[in-house]
Symmetry: C2
Subunit: 398 residues, 2 copies
């Protein structure tokens, strides 16, 4: 049988890198590649108790649920977000299968083939994949240590009249950077003036390192505009509780939420309501804030360890900055190095990372790489860095 696929099919095609990374599932390989939280810190007992509470509440817990999501969970999340300066009601909100689905659903209702989306340079690779699958034209905006460069944003808003601007302003994937307040307010103002909707992806906002007196308010909390918000905000429980529950949420103007809910109804009717109810019980009966603080500290210690190990290396021409939060180090190697090639050597030596090129909409950054520091324990990280050093020695000129 000759299958007659959609013309869109190529936009979903797998990359060579992904094929190599499949190899990293072998136990012998230490992976700095995935964006995996530390398994040993999952609140397993609390999840077990929360689940028993859900089942004890009766058989109705196992029936079909609302597309918009389990109402008590939405209420708990609203309460949670109110401590972060966000005033929303459950009507301004949709529960999704991870924040990945929020990105997908918004693109689905908002983007036509040929529409321009502005993205950070670099940015989350799976968002790029979604945008491309809907035929969007991706344009990168320059970024520095403080976030998107406002002059470049202004110029590109003017030139391309984009419908959407996708950003991870707080502890970016892949760079671990946090935007300054000036950039946050400036970007908001520029996007509102040019009627470009901002999609703010915030999976890492709870994982802040360093000076605890510094706060990074979300663009969404800074916006809260009476004439309709220009920010769609998404976050997830994947990094703070556990990824297996696949539960994220998206907050926006209720009109946008209503349209996204209809798209979700077509996509999967609703997300697992067992997981949603379990998370609701967890939020009500477990010290989630305390748990997050515990995980945050652990991750900061792991970040410190990797920073120290990186500082010990003698890698001429390789630079990085200490992440302000999140889960990743971002390395720039000399221009001559292709990290996708280097990955093959590294995997042979028993260590993996993600070549940076996948995070660039414009296919640049071939000399960059992303290292995850949250998943491996101290010992694993030491061994992994030794192996990475061996791989580095094959490409770096002394």
């Amino acid at each position: 049988m000759n299958y007659r696929y959609s013309k869109k099919l190529d936009s979903f095609s797998s990359s060579a890198v992904r094929e190599i990374l499949k190899l990293t599932q072998k136990k012998s390989i230490i992976s700095f590649a995935g964006g995996l939280p530390a398994e040993e810190h999952f609140p397993v007992a609390a999840i077990g108790e929360a689940f028993q509470r859900v089942l004890a509440a009766g058989n109705k817990a196992l029936q079909y649920g609302l597309t918009e999501g389990y109402l008590p969970l939405r209420e708990s999340i609203c309460k949670w977000m109110s401590h972060k300066g966000v005033t929303v009601t459950p009507d301004d909100m949709l529960i999704t299968t991870g924040s990945q689905q929020a990105i997908d659903l918004l693109t689905r209702i908002y983007i036509d083939p040929g529409d321009v989306i502005l993205v950070e340079k670099p940015t989350y690779l799976s968002a790029l994949q979604v945008f491309r699958s809907y035929g969007a034209v991706l344009v990168s905006v320059d970024a520095d240590e403080n976030g998107m460069v406002l002059e470049d944003l202004a110029a590109k808003l003017k030139e391309y009249r984009p419908k959407l601007v996708y950003v991870i302003p707080t502890f970016s994937n892949p760079t671990g950077k946090a935007w300054s307040m000036e950039r946050r307010k400036g970007a908001l103002e520029l996007c509102r003036a040019s009627e470009a909707l901002i999609l703010e992806d915030d999976p890492y906002g709870e994982l802040k390192f360093g000076d605890s007196s510094i706060h990074y308010p979300s663009l969404f909390s800074l916006d809260q505009h009476p004439l309709g918000s220009c920010v769609v905000y998404t976050s997830t429980f994947s990094k703070t509780v556990a990824p297996a529950l696949r539960t994220g949420w998206v907050m926006a103007d209720p009109e946008i939420i209503r349209h996204m809910a209809r798209a979700k109804q077509a996509a999967d009717l609703h997300s697992s309501s067992l997981d949603q109810q379990t998370l609701h019980q967890l939020m009500e009966h477990f010290d989630l804030a305390g748990h997050i603080e515990f995980v945050r500290k652990e991750y900061e210690a792991r970040m410190r360890q990797m920073a120290d190990l990186l500082a010990e290396q003698e890698w001429p021409g390789v630079t990085w900055n200490e992440p302000k939060g999140g889960m990743f180090f971002w390395l720039e190697l000399p221009e001559s190095v292709d990290t996708a090639e280097l990955l093959k050597t590294a995997v042979d030596l028993g260590v993996a990372f993600v070549p940076g090129v996948s995070f660039f909409a414009d296919n640049t950054g071939k000399n960059t790489m992303r290292l995850n520091f949250t998943h491996n324990d101290f010992e694993g990280t030491v061994t992994g860095m030794k192996r990475l050093n061996e791989a580095m020695q094959t490409v770096l000129v002394k």
Copy 2:
């Protein structure tokens, strides 16, 4: 802010009917509308035990999983399907967020705007919604008691050269019909000859009533062709275990599965792996076949009760057939009656159904309705039918 939505937006728009049906969430209304299983028969204790087994296996259970789905669950489903004449491996299969997502993902990789999809007349309304959202042109094929009319299918395959033919051959939603063997084999042959891919939606296949010696093999099991299957098969645990776990699966040629997995990666990375692992434990340690047989008998008794109640009514010009399985009765009223109008009266009187027009791609069937018989208990059904009779009396001419 002026939101600049996608041109596709209208395809997701809510219907007047859906708005009315929201009212049926009130406790005072007896609903024959939803496709809800009976809550009192959910295997709550077994699900609780299965979940504890998952957590006992260690923290890794809560980590990110594979997009394709939890491998042991895929293996268990393959074993399960082998008793139904289907020989597949986990590579021929993808776990989805309900079978709704399987419909969505296949459409996403297979259909371009303007492509024709043939559908039964009538058929599952949420599949129509998905197809429309991707810009497909829907063409209805005539159906009678034995399934799609082969002459009409042949004519429409020739006229439209459709890429896809969507069918629910075993206990259809909304009609409860089962295709004869002749129609199954005939449709397969015609579709293969014209290179039209068949999407076989089979959520109800386990819920068979009447003569237990009659079997309805899936089109997928009849196909199993060495040169690539022409059938994509999807089913779900929603009707046999519980909907809250939102776990379905899709089986097809591994090339199609590979493409669907890439689309799923963009859509939501993977479905809840907690639910998947729980279902795997359930399949290994619980008598699922025995449970399904218990539910099946219960549903057959409820179907019988509603058949008897319908037979008692004096409704001139109203016809129906006994469902061969599944969850629904399908009623045809006199041509003069608009059931969408009748629904308003019915809801005022405290009972709800789904007007049939939503199940027709060609917007016909305004005088039809779907009644669910699985969700209400005996007493509820008696009361609901009394109220429905009151509503009927307002439109039926004596």
